[in-house]
Symmetry: C2
Subunit: 425 residues, 2 copies
């Protein structure tokens, strides 16, 4: 086993030629060499070693909010955590080492995109997603369920799963709980999401219930297909739309099945912040207290602050990277549209005190210029800044929880945003 | 004076508010604080200090080839030198610190693009091009003459200069020797190119002569308009198409006027490598022996090797950056098209032994994937690799000249390229 793995990395030959299939079955693709076996060698029982490989410690609480650490074999994730989105094996316009420099502990990868291009089998043969995209820290992958419904064509949803045609080349594919687990295993994802249907909004109680119950049957199949993979985590996803009793029932089903973490799904799909916060006033408490809670696809900075206050530990969103590519910079004083001519002669940094390269080395005038000229460095600098801003916000939230000052932090967060951007020069 | 300059950098306010205009007139935009005055304070005569600020030392020769150093107040330029092109105040898809990491000592900026957007006056008010684009080493700017003829519309060429309409917004502008010198001064360019007409190819002897003679009159006006600017250099540009006698006459005129360096213009405009090398067999020797010789807009790696063998010291070309954005990687074994499906499963680096991030951290399979998926990191990684390859080639040429082994180096360069890319896996 060990020899086979070593050969894989030294020869850089397709791993399946040298026994990779067995390795995959046994320990998952791309586990850092020696990590899990090392723990056993250090005299730990299997139970102890397993706990070391994926464990959530809550170290501080403030109201419903919690701060802590998710321990994984690939490194710790400080919570509340924001996960930058690396859809197609890259956080767009960023080098992975720069993403890490912003303070990110974990990335999100998209099963739907990767299964179509370059394919999960290809990534596995190349040593797993971490190695492929040069990110050696934890990766969470979604199940593909959300994006197959929003991006693919010719979709046919059955009890078995979803048949669809690729938005890239029209090729036909199938996603099911079993196939999603297989893909995420091939990718070497550290945190695997169970396959679900993201209930659209709005949905009446009957539609929402049918969708939730399907997702719960798929959750059980996901759990069974995932199997026993020490060092890797499987998260269940709560559905139930905006119906409290359905959310409670979904949470209960997930608890029965048993997961390493629990996501709150079906939010940030058009219901607006007020309704979302209404759900978050009860949904997190329905989930197990001692496991990470992950609010999928959220969100804007004020969404995140409100959700952390309501007990959420993990977030992901394309907003900081996507808006960076369209000239929007996020600051403590709110979003700034750098395409606006008011920045044309402004020698000041985008955000005073920010240590990202965009703020440290360039003026607003420069950012305005390169965005107007469609220069790639505009996307590079603004994405970097936005990711740095998001991670700074998460660090502020973590510190505030530890100090028991989250409400004060939130008040000051809202007050600074209300001020708006600095006056034009 | 010093106080005014200091205020500019500390307050980060538009420099013209605090006496920048005087500073511009006196010492040029963006000269590193204290450098030139420091030399005077250290007891040097003006003559000595001036020599320190721009000087060319040839330290080795091999046949017609030379290797040496251009000393400037902003740093040394090792020759033969390749200058990456930073058209619109950015080397596309690169952070300037990464450009430096590839080994570049100097960048090229484009007068035509910068005068239109964001404008030279704006860049001057923001502290000069170096500060604007975060590159504190030498910058050479072209005169705008070549690009106004290739990019602008409604051009009208007269003895005075060229009137034209911007390709961006149709606004009307004028470029003349005097205006080109003013723009390059406003930008703070370290090496200023005199304003010329790049004679198109083919041109019969009569057309070529008229064009060359116009360029020589413009060269004299450029010299007069440039004035006396210690620490900054003005280069003249030889024209004369493929006619040896016209090249000789042009060189003689330029010598009479007197420049800090001499460019060979009007090549790499469609005449092909054979004709270009024919001209380079005599043109460099027509220019002053003790000044840098710069072959504008060249070129492919084999063009550069042949031109260095023929006595050229400086080069610039968009090829490594532009081709990086279209999926082409340059290696010692020739260009590699990473879009090709043969790389889809290839775990090997683009170029074995290369220390750039693309080769150090990624497989050909990854590069193929991100290029096919139009991911920005594809442009970032391949541009980085190509610039690193070019600088490695220049270092190899410099070392070979120092060791007296240039012909052997060139033979081995051609032999490796003839091998072609590594076999598919």
């Amino acid at each position: 086993m060990g020899a086979a793995v070593r050969i894989m990395f030294i020869c850089a030959r397709p791993a399946r030629d040298v026994g990779f299939e067995y390795f995959l079955q046994d320990e998952g693709a791309g586990l850092p060499l020696g990590k899990w076996p090392d723990l056993r060698q250090r005299g730990m029982s299997e139970q102890e070693a397993r706990q070391m490989t994926f464990r959530f410690d809550i170290s501080a609480r403030d109201g419903r909010a919690r701060s802590g650490t998710i321990h994984t074999p690939r490194g710790d994730i400080r919570t509340p955590a924001f996960m930058p989105v690396g859809t197609a094996a890259t956080v767009k316009a960023m080098m992975p080492e720069s993403v890490r420099e912003t303070g990110a502990d974990i990335l999100l990868g998209n099963t739907y995109h990767l299964m179509l291009r370059p394919t999960a089998e290809r990534i596995a043969a190349l040593g797993g997603l971490h190695r492929f995209m040069n990110w050696d820290r934890p990766i969470l992958t979604d199940s593909g369920g959300f994006q197959v419904m929003s991006l693919a064509s010719l979709r046919k949803l059955t009890e078995e799963g979803v048949r669809f045609a690729s938005h890239i080349d029209g090729s036909r594919h199938m996603l099911s709980p079993e196939r999603s687990m297989e893909i995420q295993r091939l990718l070497g994802s550290d945190i695997v999401m169970s396959f679900d249907e993201c209930t659209p909004f709005p949905a009446d109680e009957k539609v929402a219930r049918a969708s939730m119950e399907l997702s719960m049957r798929w959750a059980a199949r996901s759990r069974a297909a995932f199997g026993d993979r020490p060092g890797y985590a499987l998260f269940g996803i709560q559905q139930g739309s905006i119906y409290r009793d359905q959310r409670a029932e979904s949470a209960e089903k997930l608890r029965e099945i048993g997961f390493d973490g629990y996501a709150i799904g079906g939010l940030a799909v058009g219901e607006g912040q007020e309704l979302m916060f209404d759900v978050l006033d009860y949904a997190p408490a329905q989930l197990p207290e001692d496991k990470p809670r992950y609010l999928m696809g959220v969100g804007k900075p004020d969404d995140i602050v409100g959700a952390v206050q309501r007990g959420v530990d993990m977030f992901d969103c394309v907003l900081p990277s996507r808006s960076g590519r369209t000239g929007q910079g996020w600051t403590a004083r709110g979003p700034v549209n750098l395409r606006n001519a008011r920045h044309r002669d402004d020698p000041r940094p985008l955000e005073d005190g920010c240590t990202c390269p965009a703020c440290r080395n360039y003026s607003r005038a420069y950012l305005h210029h390169v965005i107007k000229a469609d220069e790639i460095i505009g996307s590079m600098l603004l994405t970097w800044h936005n990711l740095a801003y998001y991670q700074r916000l998460m660090q502020g939230l973590r510190d505030a929880i530890v100090e028991g000052g989250l409400d004060g932090f939130a008040a000051s967060f809202h007050a600074r945003r209300a001020e708006g951007d600095i006056d034009p020069i």
